[in-house]
Each structure stands twice: as structure tokens, then as C-alpha cells.
């Protein structure tokens, strides 16, 4: 139908190596950029900014950083949370020592501190790999969180032991701190995330990306064809920790506003790791898809569970119906019966729940929380079984089938 490659011929290597060799993909990307840069900021509510848009972007960025290390260079890491913390604390120290510093510059600079720390904790990767390396990075996790707690210079000797984001101005507008508006914060996050995504795409498709992937796929062969494994692994740690650190700075400065050391503990590392795995290791797009699922789904389920389904506004009910129909269609194209079943089942459960509500059935909010966790857990298991290569692979499959749809081959 609309999604066809017919008639798109490549006559130069530049065209062949373009980011989006299929024209429709480029159109789709522009559509999403338009959505992100113009439509969302104009229409989103305070709740949507704080609960969906900003966290999805920040988590996607953190997962992208981890993905560079784990998905592209094949080095397992469980220290993501701590490296995010390094970025956050570095940013905090910078803006308190140099109050004149431009906040965006401070956020981008803070990544370099986590990059340095990341390289130091990446040194064990030269000798060990796999699960053992994961344990070694776990050391970073414990050590750094301990340091955030004990080294009071880091939080300026606060009595609370937490870092508080001061009000930061840029061109006369508050961009960070209690007085900043959500839209400004959102734009800052969007700008940084867009910038770093472009850089990461370029790095992973070029020479360095191939070096990393070769290291991941077969390190002995990589060394014998001329790859300096030490350099390859340490650059992966540096670039990855940089991105993760910037994500950490954004996490505190553009979202939470304050952070205690235990925010950066293992649960954060695991959450980011789940996003990377569910999104698809070794992909850039997957991080966004994974973040939408892991961050967005609980919010959506909460909203649905908390509202009277049959009294939702026309727009939201249409949106929900379109979502279910779209997912069903795409799963059908990808010949994923399980996925179709899940999408249809979700729609059916929502309807039944709505009907039960009409009959006076109520779920307590505490129970909703529990059900939420169960659904997310089930989804993680579901994805690991049905599509172990993540949402990105699912999307790739859908694209492949969509190009020839409605014909089977």
C-alpha cells in the first residue's frame, strides 16, 4: 500500500548508506519529530509531561547509553544507576560552584565525569567478560552509591543528604529547579536527547560501531583482524557512561528536582536494563520503544483502571480503540498470533472491566498498583519468550512484512 520500496533506486553509496534508505521511514521520522517538538508541547497536560513525556525520554536516553555498552559492544553492565548518579552529582557540583554556567552546557559536561568513572570501572572488562563482568560493575554500583552518601562535599554538606536543584536561569527563563515550567523542562530534555541520539546513531553505524559489534560477536577474531580490544572496550565504556551520565543529570535537573543517594541504587540499574532488553539490544530505536512500554504502560493502565471506562471522553476512547486496533493489525501483519491475542485480550478486558464498573464494581487503588506490577511482569516474560530480540526486532519484522503486504511474499 503506502509502505513500498518499489521505484526507490540507489545510485550512490552515499544514498545507500543514508540513515533511512526507505523514503517512508524518513517521513515517519519527521512525523514523530513534529509530534515531539511541536504537537506534544502545545497539547500535553502537566500530568502528561511529568508522568509520561519527560521520563520516557530520560529513560530512553539512559537505556541508549547502556545499549551502546551491552547491546553494541557486548559488555554486560549493572552499574547504570550509579553512573547516572555520577552525572547528576557532577552537574549539581558544577552549577553550585559556577552558578553562571549555562545549565545545558553543565548537563552536557557532567557526562564527561561519568565517562571518566565509567572507564575506570571498565578496566576489569579487559580480563573478564559476561556475568563476571556484570559482578565487577556491580562493585561500581555499591561503591558509588556509598560514596554519594558518605562524601558530604558532594551534596554541599546538606543536612538532608540529598541534592536539591537550585533555580537556574537561561535567557531570563527558569529552565531548572522548582520554578521551571514543565514545557521548558521538556524542551531541554528533548533537545539533549535528540542531540545525543543523532550522535549515537552516527557512532554506531560507522567504523567505531563496527569495531564494537565485532568485539561483541567474536572478540578473538576481532583482535586477529586488527582491532585493539582494549581501545574498543574502553571507548564503549566511555561513550556509554557519557550518555548514561547525561541521562542522570537530566533525571535530577529536569525531572525529579531533588535526589537522595538511594535513588541511584540497583533498582534503577535494573529498570534501565529491562528497557534496553525489551526494546532490543543492539538497536537505537528499541530504547524508545522499551521506555514507552516500561514507563508508559503503567501510567496508561493506572489511568484506565482509575477512570470510568464507559464515561471516558470521546477522544480518549477513540485513542484507546485506535491503539488496540493498530496493535492488532501490526501483530497480524507480523504473523504474531500471541501478540494479536494480547492486544485483543487487552481490549476485551478493558470492555469487561468497564461493564463491571457500570454494575458497581470497584477496584481499590492499592490493588490497581499490584495488578499493574503483575501485568508489567507478565509482559516482560511474554516479550522474552515471544520476541527475545525485543521490540525493535518486532518492528523490523513488521516493516519487512508491511513492504509486501497484502501479499505473503
Amino acid at each position: 500500500m503506502l509502505y513500498r520500496t518499489a521505484g526507490q533506486f540507489k545510485t550512490s553509496y552515499v544514498a545507500d548508506q543514508a540513515l533511512f534508505p526507505v523514503k517512508q521511514d524518513a517521513v515517519l521520522l519527521w512525523l514523530f519529530l513534529l509530534l515531539g517538538w511541536v504537537i506534544f508541547p502545545l497539547t500535553a497536560s502537566e500530568f502528561a509531561f511529568q508522568a509520561l513525556l519527560i521520563p520516557i525520554l530520560i529513560y530512553a536516553l539512559a537505556a541508549m547509553g547502556l545499549n551502546i555498552l551491552t547491546g553494541f559492544a557486548g559488555q554486560l553492565s549493572l552499574g547504570t544507576g550509579a553512573f547516572m548518579g555520577v552525572g547528576a552529582y557532577a552537574c549539581y557540583k558544577m552549577v553550585t560552584i559556577f552558578p553562571e554556567l549555562n545549565p545545558i552546557i553543565a548537563i552536557l559536561l557532567s557526562g564527561f565525569f561519568s565517562a571518566g568513572i565509567g572507564v575506570v570501572f571498565g578496566i576489569p572488562s579487559l580480563r573478564i567478560k559476561g556475568f563476571y563482568l556484570a559482578i565487577a560493575t556491580l562493585a561500581a554500583q555499591f561503591f558509588l552509591v556509598w560514596l554519594f552518601e558518605k562524601w558530604s562535599w558532594l551534596y554541599n554538606y546538606n543536612a538532608s543528604g540529598a541534592i536539591q536543584v537550585p533555580n537556574l536561569e537561561m535567557f531570563g527563563i527558569f529552565v531548572s529547579g522548582p520554578q521551571a515550567s514543565s514545557v521548558t523542562e521538556y524542551y531541554i530534555v528533548l533537545f539533549v536527547v535528540t542531540l545525543l541520539t543523532i550522535l549515537c546513531i552516527n557512532l554506531t553505524r560507522g567504523n567505531l560501531g563496527r569495531t564494537w559489534k565485532a568485539t561483541r560477536d567474536m572478540d578473538i577474531a576481532a583482535e586477529l583482524i586488527g582491532i585493539n580490544l582494549m581501545k574498543s572496550k574502553l571507548t564503549a565504556f566511555a561513550v556509554s557512561s557519557y550518555v548514561v551520565g547525561v541521562a542522570g543529570a537530566l533525571y535530577v535537573f529536569s525531572w525529579k528536582g531533588a535526589a537522595e543517594p538511594n535513588v541511584f541504587d540497583i533498582p534503577l540499574s535494573f529498570q534501565v536494563l529491562f528497557i534496553a532488553i525489551i526494546g532490543g539490544l543492539g538497536s537505537i530505536l528499541g530504547n524508545y520503544l522499551g521506555a514507552i512500554l516500561i514507563v508508559g504502560l503503567p501510567v496508561m493502565l493506572n489511568v484506565i483502571a482509575g477512570t470510568q471506562v464507559f464515561e471516558m471522553s470521546t477522544t480518549s476512547s477513540l485513542l484507546l480503540a485506535a491503539l488496540v486496533a493498530g496493535a492488532t493489525f501490526l501483530f497480524w501483519i507480523a504473523r504474531s498470533m500471541w501478540g494479536m491475542g494480547a492486544a485483543i485480550g487487552f481490549g476485551a478486558v478493558t470492555l469487561i472491566y468497564g461493564y463491571a464498573q457500570l454494575q458497581g464494581f470497584r477496584i481499590e487503588s492499592a490493588l490497581i498498583e499490584h495488578i499493574n506490577v503483575m501485568i508489567i511482569g507478565a509482559l516482560i516474560v511474554f516479550f522474552l519468550i515471544i520476541e527475545p530480540h525485543g521490540l525493535n526486532q518486532l518492528w523490523r519484522l513488521i516493516r519487512e512484512k508491511l513492504i509486501i503486504w497484502p501479499f505473503p511474499h
Binding site: 561483541r216 583482535e223 583482524i225 582491532i227
Partner: protein, 271 residues
């Protein structure tokens, strides 16, 4: 030092001076002696084979040449100078490329990307340039893509260039591996059992490619192979190893008539 003038092969090709010389190489793993006091040379432009029964130490020899093992004793001379102990990637950067007995491709990457990794040693754009996809990184990428495409054309794998390597059948994987090694434009190409596990037709294809590579690019080739027919047809000179020792060295005809070689292959009690 032996003569540097070279010789003319049976089919009339001029072979140049010494490219690599192994001098009294011994390789021990603890008490096991894998290679014992072996010397031979590889000359520019020739197809040199190393043969021998299982466990003779052929692959170990290839690993010494490619720098994966450091010999316990002896010297490796390359391009007229003695090679100091170095890491495998440094050896590769000096122009020694190789393929592997068990295919060692990067399974998660496409054929094109795999072959592009062969060009890694020729690319050196900085991190910033690569991140911005601007300037040196971009031009370098295109230049090397062109070279890689020439290799892809040469080995007739155009139709699979965007296919992930994991999906390819065995014979094609072997060819992609050769492509990756060739893309590096090596001075010395090491092939570890390039025909292992192939059927007759695939062997013929591979033999043709090996000869074409030697002919077209003038690449010096050193190969290990079990198929005697293939070895005798392809190579200009053959080293024969048995139990870590060299038992024969010369043209295929000389080797074929060497009594020690015949004994090694047909089996004579060693006492």
C-alpha cells in the same frame, strides 16, 4: 640469508624475494611441544601450503605467523626485519590477514558490515568526526565502501551484501570470511583450511577464488588444507609437518615423492 631473486613457477609466474621467514621456530605449551625447530620462508607472490596429518602443528604454525601465539624459541622475520613480540592486532595492522578453520564471522552484522570490518586498519577518523558523521569519517566511509564493493564483486557475493551473516549457508560464510580478509588488502593472506567441510563444487569455486586472488591482486597466500588434490594443484611450494617437525619442503612434485611424507601419510610406526 637465502637468495632474494626468487624463482619462476611451473606455470610461468615470477615469484619475488622473501616476504616472511620463520627461523627455528619452537612452540611449547607446558611440556607439550607443538612445533619443534621449524624453518621455512614464504616468498612474495607465491601460494605456499602447509600440510600434514592431524595434530601435526599446522594450525599452531599459522597462529604463530598471525601473532596469536608467541614462539617459545626462534625468530619471525617479516619484510626484511625481525618481528618483535607483538599483539595479534598489531600483526594484522602490518598487513597479515587471515581466515579461520571454524568460521569466525561476526554473526550479528550484515555481510557488508563484516567485510567493512576488514578495512578497520585503514580507517582512522576521530571520535568527533564519526559522531557528527562529517568530514573525514564520512569521506573515509565512502572510499572504503568502494574498495569493499570491489572485493564483493570479485567474490560474487553482491546479492547477499545486506543479509545478516547468521542466515547464510556454510559455503557462503567461508566466502564472506575470505572477502573480509581480502578487504584488508593484506601483503600476506593466511587461509586456515579454506575448503574444510565443502562439497566438490564449493571446493572448485573456492580454489578458483584463491588462484584469482593470487593472480589479480598478487597477494601472497599461505594456506593449510587437508585435501591433497587441492593442495597439490593450488600451491607453488609445500611445507610438510608431522608431530611438530618439518619433514618435507619443496614443490608439490618433490613433496609427493618424498619418502618421509609418504610414510607420514600412510602411517609407519614411529620409533
Amino acid at each position: 640469508m637465502k637468495d632474494t631473486e626468487g624463482y619462476v613457477t611451473a606455470d610461468g609466474r615470477q615469484i619475488g624475494g622473501t616476504l616472511m621467514e620463520m627461523k627455528n621456530i619452537t612452540l611449547r605449551f607446558g611440556g607439550v611441544v607443538a612445533i619443534q625447530d621449524i624453518s621455512f620462508d614464504i616468498r612474495e607472490g607465491e601460494v605456499r601450503a602447509i600440510i600434514g596429518p592431524n595434530g601435526a602443528g599446522k594450525s599452531s604454525m599459522l597462529n604463530v605467523i598471525s601473532g596469536f601465539y608467541t614462539p617459545s624459541e626462534g625468530e619471525v622475520w617479516y619484510k626484511g626485519s625481525k618481528r618483535p613480540p607483538m599483539k595479534p592486532f598489531e600483526v594484522a595492522r602490518q598487513g597479515v590477514a587471515r581466515t579461520f578453520q571454524n568460521i569466525a564471522l561476526f554473526e550479528g552484522m550484515t555481510v557488508l558490515d563484516n567485510v567493512m570490518t576488514g578495512r578497520l586498519t585503514h580507517m582512522n577518523a576521530g571520535l568527533a568526526s564519526q559522531a557528527l558523521w562529517w568530514g573525514k569519517a564520512r569521506t573515509e566511509e565512502m572510499e572504503n565502501r568502494e574498495k569493499v564493493e570491489r572485493v564483493i564483486d570479485f567474490l560474487e557475493i553482491q546479492n547477499i551484501r545486506k543479509t545478516p551473516v547468521g542466515r547464510l549457508p556454510y559455503g557462503l560464510k567461508k566466502r564472506v570470511e575470505l572477502a573480509r580478509a581480502l578487504a584488508a588488502e593484506p601483503s600476506l593472506l593466511l587461509l586456515d583450511e579454506p575448503m574444510a567441510g565443502m562439497n566438490v563444487e564449493e571446493k572448485e569455486d573456492m580454489s578458483r577464488f584463491v588462484l584469482d586472488v593470487n593472480d589479480e591482486f598478487g597477494t601472497t597466500i599461505c594456506l593449510i588444507e587437508h585435501d591433497m588434490g587441492v593442495v597439490m594443484d593450488l600451491s607453488d611450494r609445500v611445507v610438510v609437518m608431522d608431530y611438530g617437525k618439518k619433514i618435507g619442503d619443496g614443490t608439490p612434485d618433490e613433496v609427493r615423492n618424498n619418502q618421509d611424507v609418504i610414510d607420514a601419510y600412510l602411517g609407519v610406526s614411529h620409533d
